[in-house]
């Protein structure tokens, strides 16, 4: 049994530690061997109970009532992120990985965050979760979850948020699972700690969870280790762990990037199904616009640490305004196109976040960029519709944008020529 190791190791040290602080209520440390195991458990329990604040206890009660999916009033604000900033100090200077990001999510809503690698989307999701390194990080702004401020909370308090309120699914299922702990333990751990379930109860729930994420023979899988499962199965397990305590918000950080196309479709369908079934809010972080299309209510496109366009999914795909979104869209190879269709790659690379270019950060790669773009930074403003915001001086599909494109074309701007050449081949 896995329990025997810690008991054997912890016995002498635990006994000593317990001696001075003993209050007489606990069983004596000199009990015969079979009872010792229980004393350790009780000690652990006692050590943990004071750490759980009253708010936690209340939440637990409320949860037991509310755990089933209910039709909650839509439009209720769940997560509110305001002017979030995260920078890392490096020998080269401050890397502003997330630079003033604001958004909010209602209950049961899904938000897609899209961007290239290096655009700060992973740091953003980790900043929301409070999973940043302890040193060399500067942060600012606010993250409010159900009205409660999360920034600056110590991890001892965040512990009661992680898993219970906000859960996360990581990119690489192999490294996010514990390789030396059985799958079952990894799921029941949260159930027992956060929801105070008994071992048997937690086991039953874990089996049900594994079944609900589509794992065949859940009982057998419970006893297996992560390496015995395929990549898709592992990701299903991490989803089961994330769902175990019934979180209200699920952060999925590139959940399918490490997986095959077929498995990717399965995992995305599973996430969507669970999200609907539990009326859970979800943030889906990815670099592939194809992944978020049809699976999210709203999409935020990130570039160089900032949100550059944000709109409801249907609006974003039909009337994108930001040249970066357009470029991302065009760089996806499509099945409908003939083979050997030239792809529109975005020229250049994302900017160095130590010294971001002045003005619009996308300007050096943008086919539409004008002089103004390199001087003045465009603010993220609402466009023609209420829920469509973008940060661009010469938006795609407007008169200004078209004029800018034509001007660049006649001036022979290489980025513009590349973009136009490839659209002609495609059409």
């Amino acid at each position: 049994m896995s329990g025997s190791g810690p008991v054997g190791d912890g016995e002498p040290a635990g006994g000593l530690a317990d001696e001075p602080g003993k209050d007489g209520a606990g069983p004596g440390p000199e009990e015969p061997a079979p009872r010792r195991r229980r004393t350790i458990r009780e000690r652990l329990k006692r050590a943990r109970v004071p750490a759980i604040p009253e708010a936690m206890e209340r939440r637990r009660l409320r949860r037991s009532v509310e755990r089933l999916p209910l039709e909650r009033p839509e439009g209720e604000l769940l997560l509110d992120v305001e002017d979030l900033r995260t920078s890392f100090s490096t020998p080269r200077g401050m890397v502003r990985a997330v630079d003033g990001v604001s958004f909010s999510i209602d209950r049961g809503q899904t938000l897609g965050i899209v961007g290239e690698s290096g655009s700060g989307k992973t740091v953003l999701s980790r900043s929301i979760m409070g999973l940043l390194p302890a040193h060399n990080v500067e942060r600012g702004g606010q993250v409010r979850f159900e009205g409660q401020e999360l920034t600056g909370l110590p991890s001892s308090e965040m512990r009661h948020i992680w898993g219970v309120e906000i859960a996360m699914v990581f990119q690489d299922p192999m490294t996010s699972l514990n390789p030396v702990m059985r799958i079952g333990r990894q799921i029941t751990e949260g159930l027992r700690y956060h929801l105070g379930q008994s071992a048997g109860e937690a086991r039953e729930n874990a089996v049900a969870l594994l079944q609900s994420v589509g794992i065949p023979e859940p009982e057998r899988r419970m006893r297996q280790y992560a390496h015995e499962l395929s990549g898709g199965m592992r990701q299903r397990v991490t989803i089961a762990i994330a769902l175990a305590c019934g979180p209200k918000l699920l952060l999925a950080d590139e959940p399918t990037t490490a997986l095959d196309v077929t498995v990717q479709a399965q995992i995305l369908n599973l996430l969507q199904e669970k999200q609907r079934e539990r009326f859970m809010a979800m943030i889906l972080v990815t670099h592939d616009l194809g992944v978020v299309a049809g699976r999210t209510d709203e999409i935020a496109v990130m570039y160089a640490g900032k949100i550059v366009e944000k709109a409801s999914t249907a609006v974003l795909f039909t009337q994108m305004r930001m040249p970066y979104t357009e470029a991302l869209m065009r760089s996806i190879p499509r099945v409908e196109d003939h083979s050997h269709t030239r792809l529109l790659a975005i020229t250049g690379r994302p900017p160095d976040l130590v010294n971001p270019p002045p003005g619009c950060r996308f300007a050096p790669r943008c086919p539409y960029a004008q002089e103004r773009c390199t001087v003045e930074e465009p603010p993220l403003l609402l466009g023609d519709t209420e829920d469509h915001a973008f940060a661009c001086w010469y938006p795609v599909g407007t008169k200004e944008g078209q004029a800018a494109l034509e001007r660049n074309l006649s001036a022979g701007r290489p980025q513009t020529l590349a973009a136009v050449a490839s659209t002609q081949v495609a059409s």
Binding site: E116, S117, G118, G214, P216, S230, G231, G232, M233, D260, V261, T262, V263, Q264, A265, Q266, L268, N269, Q272, H287, D288, L289, G290, V291, A293, G294, R295, T313, A314, F317, A327, L328, M329, S331, I332, P333, R334, V335, D337, H338, S339, H340, T341, R342, L343, L344, A345, I346, R349
Partner: protein
């Protein structure tokens, strides 16, 4: 056992002709992993063959077995008229510079302790091409063609480059010896979509510039379609379908191909992913003990009794479109055993 047939092999001069390739690995206790079973392929000069399938279907092993590491268990790999599987030692070494490989993970396939210019010059040094300064000249021109600046980047080490740039370095290293055949093993699956597009375009440019023949291995069908002249779909060590890409994607006939196409994420919110259906559900069976008959039958929506008993044989169901399925989509079922065996050209 019925082989999968060689009907899709073309007559005439193929640059590379792989026949009945089998790769098995011992898995202890007299068990064997059937990684690749009787796969036959041919690639004409200047062609790009796309090899698609899920992970675990043996597509990478096929690519590596063509390069002779590991050596195939049986079957022949005829490259420019010589059977590589019969060559050994020095003879094999002499053939290898004409075929090069690009690997999936760009960062771990480069030596982290060496400088870029040395990494790219290494193949030239091994083959003793020119002297040191002329080698660096070659490196300079190759780096330029893949879009890297020799003066700025030559002295740097792999960790200073992004994934896309590392893949460019891998491509430069593969091209520096002027190979005939380039095997790309998932060259873009570790990259972002925008960088992926850059690398795919670069590969197309390089193919034209160096007159390359390519085998492009990937699990992403949209990517494969973009670069290939012919696509072969693999499942659990066997070939399912071989066709030109436009034909294959417009009219997939093997149920597995159809399922693969259905699972491509479409960047269009109008198409709700759930509606596509047909996406695969169950897991890949174990290659230790592959299913009898058609290997896809355990996950196939059209599977019938015949699929359990009889291994489907590759046959041409439309011009240049080959499928190994008893009940292909949108086409008449395969004829019963006798004629099928005859058309397979004596596969037993």
């Amino acid at each position: 056992m019925a082989g999968i047939g060689n009907a899709h092999l073309r007559d005439g001069k193929a640059m590379l002709r792989v026949e009945d390739l089998v790769v098995e690995f011992p898995a202890g206790r007299f068990r064997r992993v059937h990684a690749v079973s009787d796969v036959s392929l041919d690639v004409l000069e200047g062609e790009t063959l796309g090899l698609v399938g899920e992970s675990g279907c043996g597509k990478s092993t096929t690519g590596r077995a063509i390069m002779q590491f590991p050596r195939p268990t049986s079957g022949s790999v005829i490259f420019e008229g010589t059977d590589m599987s019969r060559l050994g030692g020095e003879e094999l070494r002499r053939v290898r510079p004409r075929m090069q490989m690009i690997f999936q993970d760009p960062i771990s396939s480069l030596n982290p302790r060496r400088r870029l210019r040395d990494i790219v010059a290494e193949p030239l040094a091994i083959w003793g091409v020119g002297d040191k300064s002329s080698r660096q000249q070659t490196v300079r021109s190759v780096l330029e063609t893949v879009g890297l600046d020799y003066d700025a980047a030559g002295g740097r080490r792999p960790h200073e480059f992004s994934g896309g740039q590392c893949q460019r370095i891998s491509i430069a290293r593969a091209l520096v010896l002027d190979p005939k055949l380039l095997i790309c093993d998932e060259p873009v699956s570790a990259l972002d979509v925008s960088v992926q597009a850059q690398i795919l375009n670069l590969l197309e440019d390089m193919k034209a510039r160096y007159h390359l023949t390519m085998i492009f291995i990937a699990h992403d069908l949209a990517v494969v379609k973009n670069v290939s002249d012919r696509v072969a779909v693999m499942y659990l060590g066997r070939l399912c379908e071989v066709a030109p890409p436009d034909d294959l994607y417009d009219r997939p006939t093997h149920p597995y191909t159809a399922a693969l196409i259905a699972s491509i994420p479409v960047p269009n919110p109008e198409i709700r992913p759930g509606m596509v259906g047909r996406a695969l559900t169950a897991e890949l069976p174990s290659p230790l003990d592959p299913p009898s008959g058609c290997r896809f039958r355990t996950r196939c929506p059209r599977a019938q009794e015949r699929c359990t008993d009889e291994e489907p044989v590759m046959r041409e169901i439309a011009p240049n479109h080959f499928v190994a399925c008893h009940f292909p989509l949108g086409a008449p079922a395969a004829p019963e055993r006798e004629p099928a065996a005859a058309s397979a050209g004596g596969a037993t």
